[in-house]
Symmetry: C2
DNA sequence: GAAAGTTGATATTTATGAGTATCAACAATC
DNA sequence: GATTGTTGATACTCATAAATATCAACTTTC
């Protein structure tokens, strides 16, 4: 039943998400403010979380609590995802891209120009597909093949 | 005068290094125990630091104190350096490499087999050339060109 | 339309990671 | 050979990051 829910469909309210993850709603909003997650937003501005979001958040929790990586550390690690290789932006665009030229926070926390302007970061695979738990290194490997 | 010193020549004792960096000798040994640095060792086992080591340590300090990245975060970031691309190890060797297949600590903290067995990590460019301050992202960029 | 849930903001608590202190054994220096 | 510095190990302190609590204004729900 719970298994039949689509991974990407935002259906859990913040309080339900918090209960499932055994954390507080405040912590969820804090992760968002830090740029670690991008929950879906209803027209009324209320947040909704999908199963994929919950898995992602659990990875972040493990990084903080088990691996003892600070939030700023996680932001820096996310900033190393080779987004330029994933979205295939041009040399010209790279020169002009804040994300390409910095390494303090994830690309999806910047105001976008260029290719990324038309993309919705929540659905972009830089954010959605590759930024969980151990697989950032897998992505770097893949990009250097 | 100080400028004429070779960057790579290990000449500073631990107490001198600590004084120059304005930190304690204990902190220097702690960074080493954590695998962040590899000082030169005399036959008597005493440590010596080169100018390049001091610069590297200053970068680590800035990451901890300014950027607020935890030591475990720095170790994880170091583990993302595409060493496989730098030392050009084979597919076969990669399958068998603890560093390639993990992302918790830098490659130079593992017991080495394969290509790296003959290398001295302190002199290896994975450690020496590319692991300072902001240039890990530069290296990933370079590897994905 | 009353109750339950959400919003962002600010203030506060607490768990712990980074750094320090102390130690006896050993090495270097003059 | 006496002084100064180094080694690793264990125990301790302190600064602060992560998490919590509280708030009034706003939404959703039945």
């Amino acid at each position: 039943m719970y298994d039949s829910i689509d991974n990407a469909e935002p259906i859990f309210s913040i309080s339900v998400a918090a209960r499932l993850l055994k954390i507080s709603v405040h912590t969820l909003r804090m992760y968002e403010r830090e740029g670690l997650i991008i929950p879906f937003k209803k027209d009324s501005n209320q947040r909704l979380y999908a199963k994929a979001d919950l898995e992602r958040i659990q990875c972040i929790r493990d990084a903080i609590n088990q691996a003892k990586i600070s939030i700023n550390g996680i932001k820096t690690i996310y900033s190393l995802i080779p987004c330029w290789d994933i979205v295939k932006c041009s040399e010209e665009e790279r020169k002009d891209c804040s994300s390409f030229n910095n390494a303090q926070k994830p690309c999806w926390t910047y105001d976008h120009k260029n290719v990324c302007k038309e993309r919705n970061c929540r659905d972009c695979e830089v954010y959605s597909k590759y930024s969980q738990c151990g697989n950032i290194k897998e992505l770097i490997k893949f990009s250097t093949r």
